[in-house]
Amino acid sequence: MKRIIADAEQCMSSGMCALTAPDHFDQDDEDGRVVLLAEEAEDGDGDVADAVRLCPAAALRLEPA
């Protein structure tokens, strides 16, 4: 398992994570910033890895759980 780290201060509300891995990420209704729906992801979860890669603001990362 990997732990998902999201930095809401860095977040620019592009929505790329919510678009790419909607099971793990949502956006705040007021300002669109990242909201985690799950704290962890499976090691082979390609969608979560893509969401991290596609984040324009480098606000997401994965750490060993």
């Binding site: 620019m12 509300s13 592009s14 929505g15 919510a18 678009l19 790419t20 909607p22 949502d26 956006q27 705040d28 209704d29 007021e30 300002d31 669109g32 910033r33 893509d50 890669r53 596609l54 324009p56 603001a57 480098a58």
Partner: protein
């Protein structure tokens, strides 16, 4: 080191093929990821970044500023700006125009709008977008053949949608269409561009004042009611949404439709397998890269970057069109493949300035393309490809007209 006379003077815009970046730009990309480039109008030396890797790096690095200033420079000719060459310092801030700002000013203004453009909010807009798309397709079906897909479909769909979202009466589009065109026309001249911006600020400022008195259910009413925003900022945010909200998507819809029609197997694939639509939209954004003049930044202070010594106030142009065709990042980048993975393209930019309205643009394109191929399976261009008029003299590349029949 290159000899001075091998330093390119700006980015060439004329294309050999409607769907491919100019060969001269691709040649620069193959030669080096980052190189010296001279800028219009006075030949100032700056930089050109062409690879996907470095494009991402520059756009994510806040040492490259979006708050531009002297000396006046552009990667493409901008007639009429020579008169301002002796201007010194940062350009005056256009109120509300956060794309020209750095954090924290940028962050403060952008966050006023980010809640409006979330993935969730765009899903809620889906039926409205579908309604506009279907209305235009109905009108197309009932009208004469051939028809111009730009005027009948690609322009009105995003224009109607941003008007509705913002709260601008679409019937008053004569108040913004010509001025929007002037802003994005490279050779419109400094004076005409300035006047167009002023008229748009006046138009949207008046509208915002009216909505402050009598609010309606739209973004402009919300902005007008925000005590933290000055009147000029409200007008500026509205101008930004309006002009960025329809020109870009309109260009992508028409050029995207043409690309699919000229790659008939891809058109048919999309028609037979609608589940490919979301991926097809990413692939079209990557393959067509309508941001052909690039994204511009200015070096804040001297620093070393990728082995180059960058000097304060030097300009850096990030070439989106070459980054999106970078073989080091994409497999077979010169092929249009709607089953491939176009994600990671830089057409919406990267970093803190990445396009605010990208989820709206995606939703509009998904609905528009999927319904176009379903409703008009036999659609075809009414003229040969080399007779389709191209728009190269604007900030966004595209087609001026697209005659189609069925």
């Amino acid at each position: 080191m290159s000899a001075p006379d091998t330093v390119p003077y700006g980015i060439p815009l004329e294309r050999e093929h409607p769907f491919d970046p100019p060969a001269a730009v691709m040649a620069l990309h193959r030669g080096a990821e980052m190189r010296r480039m001279r800028y219009h109008p006075n030949g100032e030396l700056g930089w050109l970044v062409t690879s996907h890797r470095l494009a991402r790096k520059v756009l994510a690095d806040t040492r490259f500023s979006s708050r531009l200033g002297s000396p006046i420079q552009a990667p493409v000719p901008m007639p009429g700006f020579e008169a301002y060459a002796d201007f010194e310092g940062d350009f005056p801030v256009t109120p509300g125009m956060f794309i020209e700002m750095d954090p924290p000013d940028h962050t403060r203004l952008r966050r006023k709008l980010t809640g409006v453009f979330t993935v969730k909010r765009m899903k809620q807009l889906e039926p409205r977008i579908a309604q506009h798309v279907d209305d235009r397709l109905d009108a197309l079906a009932a009208g004469p053949r051939p028809a111009d897909l730009v005027r009948e479909f690609a322009v009105p769909v995003p224009s109607m949608m941003i008007c509705e979202l913002l709260g601008v009466p679409y019937e008053r589009r004569e108040r913004f269409e010509a001025d929007t065109a002037a802003i994005f026309t490279l050779d419109a001249g400094a004076e005409a561009k300035g006047e167009a911006v002023n008229r748009l600020y006046a138009f949207l400022g008046e509208l915002a004042a009216a909505k402050r008195e009598t609010p309606t259910d739209d973004v402009l009413s919300d902005l007008a009611a925000d005590p933290d925003l000055a009147d000029e900022e409200v007008a500026g945010l509205a101008v930004l949404l309006l002009v960025a909200g329809h020109e870009t998507t309109a260009k992508m819809l028409a050029l995207g439709a043409l690309a699919l029609l000229e790659h008939r197997d891809q058109w048919d694939l999309l028609r037979e397998r609608p589940e490919l639509t979301a991926g097809a939209v990413e692939e079209l954004l990557r393959y067509l890269s309508i941001i052909h003049t690039g994204l511009i930044r200015q070096v804040k202070a001297d620093f070393e970057f990728e082995g180059h010594r960058l000097k304060a106030r030097e300009y850096v142009t990030v070439s989106v069109q070459t980054a999106n065709r970078d073989e080091a990042h994409f497999t077979e980048p010169d092929e249009l493949d709607v089953t491939g993975d176009g994600r990671g393209h830089l057409t919406f930019g990267h970093g803190v300035h990445q396009c605010l309205g990208q989820q709206l643009a995606r939703m509009e394109m998904r609905i528009a393309f999927s319904r176009l191929v379903a409703r008009f399976p036999g659609l075809r261009p009414a003229v040969p490809l080399d007779e389709v008029p191209l728009v190269t003299g604007q900030n966004f590349y595209g087609v001026a007209e697209l005659p189609v029949t069925w």
